[in-house]
Amino acid sequence: MTTPIIETQSLTKTFRVKKKTVEAVRSLDLRVEPGELVAFLGPNGAGKSTTLRMLTTLLPPTSGTARVAGYDVGRHQAEVRRHIGYVGQGNGAGHLQRGRDELLNQGRAYGMTAADTRARADVLIDGLDLGGVVDRTVSTLSGGQRRRLDITLGMIHAPELLFLDEPSTGLDPQNRAHLQEQIVGLHRAGTTIVLTTHYLDEADAMAQRVVVVDHGAIIADDTSEHLKGGLGVRVTLGFATAADAEAARGQVDAAGSTEAPVVTVQDGAPALVVRHRDGTTWAADAVRRLEAAGLVVTGLEVVRPTLDDVFLSLTGRSLREAGATDAGATTEEVAA
C-alpha cells in the first residue's frame, strides 16, 4: 500500500455565526493516493471550500486531523505549504499588480530561479491563452481572464499536489477546454489534483474519482462512470396522444433500464420517459421498433445525468430544495 498524499480522520469544522453553529465540514474521512485526480462535487455551501482551506493550512480544523504530503496541517504548516499549490475561490492575483509580475513573484516565493519562472510562465500563459493580457494591471482584466491568471499562479511551481477551488467559474466554453487540457496535462505528469466543481460533466471530463459532498459530509465517493452508470441516461419519447404513449410502453425493450418506462406529460405533450444505462443506443433502437409497430414518435430527448440527478438519487432532494442557489450566483460573486 502506498502512503496517501492526503489523509484525513474525522476532519470537522464548525463556525459560530450570531450564536448559531454552522457545521461546515462533518467528520470527513478522506484518503487520496499520489497521482489521483479527484473532483469534489456539491451544491453551494456543501463545505468544499472549507475542506480545501483546512487542507491548505488556511483554517485550523475544529477537530480531527489531516495529513497532506506526509505532514500534519496543524503542526507542520510550512512543510505542507512547500508541497502544494492552491487556487482559491477568490482572485489570487493582486488587483493592483500586473499579471506577469505576480507570476514572477509567485515563482520567487516558491524558491524558483527567475529564469525558471519566466520559462514556465511563458508555457502557462500560452496554454491558457493569456498572452494578450498578462502584462496589464489585474483589475483591468475580465473575470474569466483573471480566473485563468489565478490558475497559472497556482501551477507556476509545478506542485506535486494542486488544489483548485472552482477553477472553471466564469470561463467560456473554449477556455474551459483549455483549462481541462492543462489539468489533464499536469495530471499525466504525475501531479495529484483535487478540484471542486458544481458540474458533473466537468468532473466527468477530468476526474477519475468524484467525491459528492452535501452538508459537510461525503455522500458518495466513486468513479463518475459508476455514479452516472447507476443512474442511466434519461430518454424522453414524445407522442401525439396519451394512448400512443401507453401503447409504446408495451413495445419498448425495458431490459437494461435503470428506471422503468413511465407515461407522463412533458411540455404539455404525452411522453414516455425511461432511464437507461446506454440511453443513446436504446433511443435509436426504440424509435425504430415503434415506427415498425406503427407508432409515430413526435419528439425525442436524450439527457445525460447531471449533478442534480446524481444528487436527487443520493439524497432524495433536488439541488434547489437543498436551499442552494444556482451555480450562476457563485459566478457573479467571484467575477464581481
Binding site: Y86, G90, D101, Y110, H157, G185
Partner: protein
C-alpha cells in the same frame, strides 16, 4: 484540442527552503512592483501636505519660531512628517483590498513566513516616504529653506524607522478590521489629525495650555518632529535627537511586534 501545450514541467528543486531575509525580499519586491510601474502614485498621499506647504506656510510670520529660524525652515520638517504619517497610515487599505479579493489568501498558502508578509510590506513604505521627502525638500530649497544635507539625511533615517512602525500599525488595523473598510478609515481618520496637531506640526505647542502640552508630551511623533527640526536646521542637540530616535524605534518595535503577531494569527 490539437494544440495541447504541455505544462508538464520537470519538478526541479523548486522547493528549496528560503530564509527569512529571502522571504522579506520577496514580499518587498512584490510591493515595490506597482510603484515602479507607476512612480507617479507617490504623489497621491502628498496632495494635502503640499497644500499646507503652499497655502499655510506663507501665513507664518518669520522670526516667531524657536531658534530664530525662518518660518519655512521650521515648517518643512513638520510637512515631511505629515506626508510620512499620511502615506504610511493608509497602507493598510491595500491589505484590506487584498484580503477581500483573495490575493492575501494566496500569499498565506505560499511558503513565505508570516513575519515576512509584514516586514516586507512595512519596509517597502520607506521608499515612497523618501521619495516624498525628496520632493518636498526640492520644492522648498529655492526659497528660504537652507539645506543642511547631513542633518537631513540623519533626520530621514529616523523618519524611515518611524515609517516602518506606522505602516505596521496600519496593517494591524487592516487585519483587525478585515471585511469592514469603514472601520479602518474611521479609526485612521480619527487618529491622524490629533496625532499631527499634537506633535506641533502646524504650530508650536510650547505656548499652549497645560493639558495640550501633556498630550503632546505623550505623542511619540512630537519627539520625532523635534529631532527632525533640529537636524533639518543643521543643529545636533544630542538629547533631542536621542529622544527622536527612541520614539521612532519605540513605534517601530511596537508596530512590528503587534503586526507580526496579528499576521501569524491569520487563518
Amino acid at each position: 484540442m490539437t494544440t495541447t501545450t504541455t505544462t508538464a514541467a520537470p519538478r526541479a528543486s523548486y522547493t528549496r527552503p528560503t530564509g527569512v531575509v529571502a522571504d522579506v525580499v520577496t514580499v518587498f519586491t512584490r510591493e515595490m512592483r506597482p510603484l515602479a510601474r507607476d512612480p507617479f502614485q507617490v504623489v497621491f498621499s502628498m496632495i494635502q501636505p503640499l497644500f499646507f506647504l503652499a497655502l499655510f506656510a506663507p501665513l507664518l510670520p518669520d522670526g516667531a519660531f524657536p531658534g530664530g529660524v525662518s518660518a519655512l525652515q521650521w515648517f518643512v520638517p513638520g510637512i515631511v512628517a505629515m506626508s510620512c504619517l499620511m502615506g504610511t497610515s493608509m497602507v493598510g487599505s491595500n491589505l484590506l483590498l487584498e484580503m477581500q479579493t483573495g490575493s492575501h489568501e494566496r500569499l498565506l498558502v505560499a511558503p513565505v513566513r508570516r513575519s515576512a508578509l509584514l516586514l516586507g510590506r512595512a519596509a517597502k513604505e520607506i521608499v515612497p516616504m523618501l521619495a516624498q521627502s525628496a520632493i518636498i525638500i526640492a520644492a522648498v530649497t529655492p526659497f528660504s529653506f537652507e539645506l543642511h544635507l547631513p542633518g537631513v539625511l540623519v533626520g530621514l533615517a529616523i523618519m524611515a524607522v518611524f515609517a516602518v512602525g506606522m505602516a505596521s500599525l496600519s496593517y494591524v488595523l487592516a487585519l483587525a478590521a478585515e471585511g469592514r473598510d469603514w472601520m479602518f478609515w474611521a479609526v485612521q481618520q480619527t487618529f491622524l489629525f490629533p496625532v499631527l496637531l499634537l506633535a506641533g506640526m502646524l504650530l508650536p505647542v510650547d505656548d499652549g495650555p497645560a493639558w495640550l502640552r501633556t498630550l503632546s508630551a505623550l505623542n511619540p511623533l512630537t519627539y520625532v518632529v523635534d529631532a527632525e527640526r533640529a537636524l533639518f536646521a543643521g543643529t545636533w542637540p544630542a538629547g533631542t535627537i536621542l529622544a527622536g530616535v527612541a520614539a521612532a524605534a519605540g513605534v517601530a518595535l511596537v508596530g512590528l511586534g503587534v503586526g507580526i503577531r496579528a499576521m501569524r494569527r491569520q487563518d
